[in-house]
């Protein structure tokens, strides 16, 4: 009844969550096969039931979830066994968890215990499934760490997780998942929280280990680029159902379901750059920039003994940055985590005080330039009306105890620009502008989805008719399809209001789509500035080349990462 080379067959799996008011069918009638040595990608947006499905395979379902039907057939020497038949927590299930199915998942920062050494956590995994002494397990652990390319594994095994970087932790996590040579590896968004270059390395590593061991892999991701780079087969999931599955090439080049195409279009659209967007005329050399950043430097921790790292002169977050922002322009700042891009953005607003250098602001052509770094309190407040910020996290950046009207109207009230009825009218107008129903202004943020909340955040930034908006990772927390909607909304608003954007992001495809010019930051320095198209197609700096070549390409016929430049090659 099972196909010969299917290692794990899922048949009609259904998982329900019994919530207080209703039953949520998180997974409905899901059927797929995992084959030895092959990768199946499970794709979908947040809330589509991907992770629940994956954990269901290991019988790890959080309360109040319950498996209500279906089979999970795992092939073995004595024929297939149905994992769904066993009781949760039974010996059979415990033997399969970690022994035959390994799991790695998204949060490299919190998926390992902070109070146990890396080694002890891996040794534990080894000894759960293999009858070996502590000494042998330790040898095995060091060998595993070496396989996942952690340098000096003998030393690192006795270290704690917080002494590891994000990428290193994910490697350690992989080592643990592979400790007992599982036949199936479930990778649940394994690289979502990592930088592109680290992501490419981790995906390489997983792919290599999979080939060496002939494991079947279930890769869960929302990133179609990653799917194209590593998957053999794809299943697209939506509202708990698999809407389409097939070989990766078919999905990308001959997809039948409209939702699949919608997902692909959103990704490919970001790939291609904002079509038909002419560079603003203001980029001509005669026009004075609205913001000029000169020699801007931020050193955290004065040169004292306690905080010094390396050079003994504090941590240099931003090092001598020079940038211009022209009226009507979108300037992107890309870089990996820790490259100083957020600090730079905050210094523009003077939320973070620069150590040295200047930020010059010119409200319009006629106005005389002001040096932001020396502004007094009252002037700074006026400056903040012109230059505003959009945050990354749509959940944390809105006060849950304020209504939407209060949130959006707050800048108006604080600046004493309006009061009473006028505020209400203005909020309604702004909500209309960002594509939300003005009637929703009495509701609280929790009633909105992530994308809608980000729209509220944008409306708040627009309330005072700003000239410049600093958007710090404004779309990072959103699903791909919503991401492109938000970007289009921003472009649309820009056209109407003649805004300039400083768009900070680690996501190069987003920056490429949205920005006219791009500045690349690396270790606090601006290494390259150029127009978006040439940075993409013809980067001049080695670091930029490495960065660009690490971005997954959403086309399985043209895999980019395999040919990417590595740190040791540049």
């Amino acid at each position: 009844m099972m196909k010969p080379n299917a290692l794990l067959s899922v048949r009609n799996l259904s998982i329900d969550f019994h919530l207080r008011t209703h039953v949520l069918h998180a997974v409905r009638d899901v059927t797929f096969d995992l084959k030895r040595g092959k990768t199946m990608a499970l794709v979908g947006e947040s809330g589509s039931g991907k992770s629940v499905t994956a954990r269901g395979l290991m019988r790890i379902i959080d309360k109040p979830g319950r498996m209500t039907g279906g089979q999970i057939l795992l092939d073995g020497p004595d024929g297939p066994v149905d994992v769904a038949q066993f009781k949760e927590g039974s010996r059979e299930v415990l033997g399969i968890r970690g022994g035959r199915i390994g799991l790695i998942f998204q949060e490299p920062m919190s998926s390992l215990s902070p109070v146990h050494t890396i080694g002890s956590q891996i040794v534990e995994a080894v000894r759960l499934h293999k009858r070996v002494s502590k000494k042998e397990a330790r040898v095995r652990c060091i060998e595993l760490l070496r396989q996942v390319e952690i340098p000096q594994p003998e030393l690192m095994t006795d270290r704690y997780t917080f002494e590891f970087s994000g990428g290193m932790r994910q490697r350690a996590m992989i080592a643990m998942a592979l400790a007992c040579d599982p036949e199936v590896l479930i990778a649940d968004e394994p690289t979502t929280a990592l930088d592109v270059t680290t992501q490419a390395e981790i995906l390489d590593l997983i792919k290599r280990l999979q080939d060496e061991r002939g494991m079947a892999m279930l890769l869960i991701t929302h990133d179609m680029g990653i799917v194209a780079e590593v998957a053999d087969e794809v299943a697209v999931m939506r509202f708990g159902k698999i809407v389409e599955q097939g070989p990766v090439d078919d999905i990308f080049h001959a997809s039948r379901h409209p939702y699949t195409r919608q997902l692909l279009d959103a990704t490919v659209k970001l790939e291609s750059g904002a079509a038909g967007r002419a560079l603003p005329a203001s980029l001509a050399p005669t026009v004075a920039p609205v913001l000029s950043i000169r020699n801007l430097t931020k050193i955290y921790g004065a040169p004292s003994r306690m905080f010094s790292r390396g050079s003994g002169r504090g941590l240099v977050a931003v090092d001598d940055a020079n940038l211009d922002l022209f009226p009507g322009e979108n300037l992107g700042i890309v870089g990996e985590s820790g490259s100083g891009k957020t600090t730079l953005g905050r210094m523009i607003l003077r939320i973070v005080e620069p150590t040295s250098g200047s930020v010059t602001y010119r409200a319009d052509e006629a106005a005389s330039p002001v040096d932001v770094t020396t502004l007094g309190k009252a002037d700074l407040r006026r400056y903040h009306q012109d230059v505003r910020l959009i945050f990354q996290d749509p959940f944390a950046s809105l006060n849950p105890r304020m209504t939407v009207k209060q949130i959006i109207g707050d800048p108006l009230v604080i600046s004493k620009a309006m009061s009473g009825r006028a505020v209400e009218a203005r909020v309604a107008e702004l909500l209309g502008k960002v594509g939300l129903d003005p009637l929703a202004m009495e509701r609280y943020p929790h009633a909105f989805s992530g994308g809608q909340r980000q729209r509220i955040g944008i409306a708040r930034a627009l309330a005072l008719n700003p000239k410049v908006i600093v958007a710090d990772e404004a779309t990072s927390a959103l699903d791909v399809s919503i991401r492109s909607q938000i970007l289009d909304l921003l472009l649309d608003i820009q056209k109407q209001l003649h805004l300039s954007f400083v768009f900070i992001s680690h996501d190069i495809s987003v920056v490429r789509y949205f920005c006219d010019r791009v500045a690349v930051m690396h270790r606090g320095k601006v290494v390259e500035v150029g127009d978006a198209e040439s940075i993409r197609t013809n980067p001049s700096q080695p670091y930029t080349k490495r960065l660009i070549s690490s971005v997954p390409n959403p086309d399985p016929r043209n895999k980019r990462m395999l040919h990417r430049l590595r740190a040791d090659q540049v």
Partner: protein
């Protein structure tokens, strides 16, 4: 690690100095001194002392000296000879008095602390893991009762119950027959039969608070990704919970030593008076009322030292338990 401990101990020195100053100032604050309060007591009883005797006593006790001289005499004695001064009221060296009381105080405190842990740990874990179950609600109710009932009421109730239904002699930590008897098995048994009332009373509110803290902390930890990692390894559920989230939720338990120690020593004065326990609390109260300055000052100082020692112990334990603290 050793450097960490050394640093902590070093930081204690200025704190101790400040504490001794404050302790001494507190006992100087009320108007008058031991002699004025002695005289008023004697006057109440119809006795009078002549001026010359009062002046002689004042010189003898050193009360005619300026405050700072008195302080240095006192602190100097403690530092050089371990001499905490002389209790006017008891006509005994303060140190003898204190050490007498400290033994029983520490005994009861430690027993209570152990009981707090022994009860709250399993209940806290149960409540967090089976949140909103019948058992959780039942323990929550009990916990709030424990928090709400004043200690001395509980003490009176238990004393009554133990006298009425168990026929035990109550109050103190020994039956009258054993107070001056040498240590023997019988004396130990007698002590244990007395100890349970104060231990239960003193531990009660602490236990209730600790259950709530552990339940809240553990509930947060249970949904962390590393718990799923542990499950995905194939670890049985009870080991998953005990080894990972409980270990991290234990931090407040250990921190509690810091405040539980001084609290147990001084905070249960009323209970100790009700139960007639020979602990430090009642003695301190009497010393303060009678302006027996060296006794009171030494007690306050000692309490401060205990707080510091408690903090030190809990800090060291925290560092042992949580490497993140050790490495900062």
């Amino acid at each position: 690690m050793l450097a960490y401990v050394a640093k902590r101990v070093l930081y204690m020195i200025p704190t101790l100095f400040g504490m001794s100053l404050i302790a001494f100032m507190i006992i100087q604050l009320p108007p008058g001194d031991y002699l004025t309060s002695l005289l008023s007591t004697m006057a109440d009883g119809g006795q009078n002392l002549d001026e010359a005797t009062i002046a002689r006593l004042r010189t003898q006790y050193g009360l005619d000296q300026p405050v700072h001289v008195q302080y240095f005499v006192w602190i100097g004695g403690i530092l050089t000879r371990g001499d905490f001064g002389y209790s006017f009221e008891w006509n005994q060296p303060v140190s003898t008095l204190i050490w007498d009381r400290m033994g029983s105080t520490l005994l009861i405190s430690l027993a209570s602390l152990l009981m707090v842990w022994a009860i709250s740990l399993p209940i806290g874990i149960y409540s967090a893991v089976r949140r909103h179950s019948f058992g959780d609600h039942a323990f929550t109710l009990l916990g709030f009762i424990g928090l709400a009932v004043p200690n001395f009421i509980m003490a009176l109730t238990l004393m009554y119950a133990s006298y009425r239904f168990l026929g035990q002699s109550v109050g103190g930590i020994f039956s009258p027959a054993f107070v001056d008897a040498p240590w023997s098995l019988a004396k130990l048994t007698d002590m244990l039969s007395h100890m349970w009332i104060p231990v239960i009373v003193i531990a009660m509110s602490g236990t209730a608070a600790m259950i709530r803290i552990l339940r809240a902390n553990l509930s947060d930890e249970l949904s962390k990704p590393y718990v799923i990692t542990a499950r995905a390894k194939g670890l049985p559920e009870h080991k998953v919970i005990l080894k990972y989230p409980v270990r991290i939720a234990l931090n407040p338990f250990v921190s509690s030593i810091g405040w539980v120690l001084p609290d147990l020593v001084s905070g249960v004065t009323i209970t100790a008076i009700v139960l007639n326990l020979p602990t430090a609390g009642p003695l301190l109260l009497r010393a303060l009322v009678g302006q027996d300055m060296y006794l009171a000052g030494s007690f306050i100082l000692l309490m401060g030292v205990l707080t510091l020692v408690g903090m030190l112990i809990s800090d060291i334990l925290l560092a042992v338990l949580d490497p993140r603290i050790r490495f900062n």
